[in-house]
Symmetry: C2
Subunit: 373 residues, 2 copies
């Protein structure tokens, strides 16, 4: 019988299937650790570096460039690094783009996180829920013929990957004449896509690109043309002010931003860009879904097949007792973070960028072993 004591800490960090904060690449952990003592080129601990230093300005500039370059976006997109998570964006977006408008913004309610965005938007203005997965327990996403987008909406808001349910859109939704706003928190920089179709993308770091504490916002310049003038909203909630300050309106989360820079360097360098990253992520997900599908119904996938997420693979075991025994057996082998979100239960294996194929192979091995016992 395997025992957790025999699994090294480095291996346990690689076998972290948590929905987030989650696994990070080995090389990023090592560099982050070194930076606590000395950030390369800064001559000081990353925790003691002034956010007004030239060194940190170059970190922000390189990171903005890396994000734009990885997403294939031109210079008319601003790249911001804010605090407050996706939750803060649930409020900042309608504050800037919905308050005072005559027409409702269109929101999709496809799962837990898109649902969290709704009350915050309704506080600021009119909202039309274009489609809701509630009647069937958020086990699938809408088909094109279920969606009638209005041409006069201030914007369309949706979540590209529902972390809790494990549902992912594999296409871009909406109309070209209505700004698309997308919460990509759990699949940001995980695969290539036509990101120039979006007017605003936001993603907190703690899934694919870094530790908790920073949120990336990518925003097309012209989106703010009808937003409240600079100075109307509280400064830290005002995209104008944040853009003007290049994300350093007040002290930013220096360490978290630096770790995101390390992840983007790894993506551009060692991995070779989003096409390569997407291929790796698809291979990991395919392996796991195949194991589920080939289990003769022992493991049951939550998400409808066309909408399965490459990032969060959700499934169930036949009974609660088997569920707990499975989690236990996986833990002994060093695998952690497999319990599904408290709102839906079951198993969730999150396969973010930092997770290696070998970790998924290990999970599949545990699943096979467990079923055969």
């Amino acid at each position: 019988m395997e025992s957790i004591e025999t699994v090294s800490i480095d291996e346990r960090n690689r076998l972290n299937f948590s929905g987030g904060p989650g696994v990070l690449p080995d090389t990023v952990l090592r560099q982050a650790q070194e930076a606590i003592r000395e950030a390369p080129g800064a001559g000081l601990s990353i925790l003691g570096i002034s956010h007004r230093s030239d060194w940190f300005a170059s970190v922000v500039a390189e990171l903005q460039d890396n994000v734009r370059s990885l997403l294939g976006l031109p210079d008319n997109y601003h790249v911001l690094f804010l605090q407050g998570g996706a939750t803060q964006q649930f409020t900042m977006v309608p504050m800037a783009l919905l308050a005072g408008r005559a027409n409702p913004a269109e929101y999709l309610h496809t799962g837990y996180w898109s649902g969290k965005a709704l009350p915050e938007a309704r506080r600021e203005g009119l909202v039309r829920v274009l489609w809701s997965g509630e009647p069937h327990g958020y086990d699938r996403l809408p088909a094109d013929n279920e969606l009638a987008f209005a041409p006069d909406a201030p914007y369309l808001h949706y979540v590209s990957n529902e972390t809790v349910e494990g549902l992912q859109f594999h296409r871009v939704l909406g109309r070209d004449d209505v700004p698309r706003i997308c919460d990509m928190s759990s699949d940001f920089l995980s695969a290539p896509g036509d990101f120039s179709k979006f007017s605003l993308i936001y993603a907190h770091a703690q899934k694919n690109i870094g530790p908790a504490g920073v949120t990336v916002v990518v925003m097309k310049d012209e989106l703010l043309k009808d937003a409240p003038a600079p100075g109307v909203l509280p400064g830290f909630l005002d995209y104008h002010e944040q853009i003007k300050a290049s994300s350093i309106l007040n002290t930013p989360p220096v360490f978290a931003i630096y770790v995101v820079l390390l992840v983007t360097r790894w993506l551009r360098g060692e991995i070779g860009g989003l096409t390569a990253m997407g291929r790796i992520n698809a291979a990991k997900a395919d392996l796991l879904y195949r194991q589920i599908d080939d289990s003769g119904g022992f493991y049951q996938a939550h998400a409808a097949r066309p909408d399965r997420s490459t990032m969060n693979v959700t499934f169930r075991l036949p009974t609660p007792e088997l569920h707990y025994r499975f989690i236990e057996m996986a833990a002994r082998a060093g695998l952690s973070g497999l319990s599904g979100h408290r709102s839906i239960g079951g198993i969730r294996a999150s396969l973010y960028n930092g997770m290696q194929l070998a970790a998924v192979e290990k999970l599949v091995e545990v699943m096979r072993d467990f079923q055969s016992r």
Copy 2:
């Protein structure tokens, strides 16, 4: 001639006089570094630990307890760990306690940071500036006979230590029948005090207690009795919601919170509490002010003597050329972060909790050498 190359990185981290993010204790840096690989008791990297784990719940609980214990506050004070810095509190405070009130809140304008709070408060409601240091360039604080506090103000807001100007209140202001709200960002947990006289204290971490990315809010339970009901304000800006969620409304900055825990453990353990910390901080500041005062006017203190800060010591050299030569000579000896804030210039030596007396002795030695040349 000394050269920066001969100063080790550990020594340079100790000689960091930055206004913030600033110096942290050696032991905290070491433990933070180790936690990037494995957080003790968690069996995982601190960057990959779920904020919903039992381990992290125990971090938050211990830290809440440490903060209350260090400040000598009873259980009717909530302790929150939020994002957005003091800047976010500039808005959250008046949103909760000023909007819609008939009487103005009273604000002191004693320097750069208290000035930043004013427009954010005015956006939400009526503000009366009780006293302003503007006419004399923020070089002193008001005496008691310059302050006439109104009995019917919703609250009094002031900044206990002006980081930029190096001004610090060495007494508690205001009336017992009006809630005192204090931005203690740059002197939080630096010395003992009668903290139960305050209804709300806030402080971002990156001066005395940790890295950038988290802000501590300590709030008396009854303060919210006239605040908007839960659900009226956006969730992340609603103290009710943050209290209910015990600071884990959405993903908190796990790493930054953990480092703050390490600092509070160090304060309670190795240092022995705020009385001992205050004695150490006073000794450091005394040494430096004595050097300034004994320089025959070569070094000129910015702040009026009774209002001098123990945290941020601000002074000037006779000419801009001497200023730059001094900064250069200090840099060669490994001392960094001595340039004053861009808004006032001059020299600022920040002597936060993590700075050792030996570092201030080194600074004083450099000052003596420089003057004698």
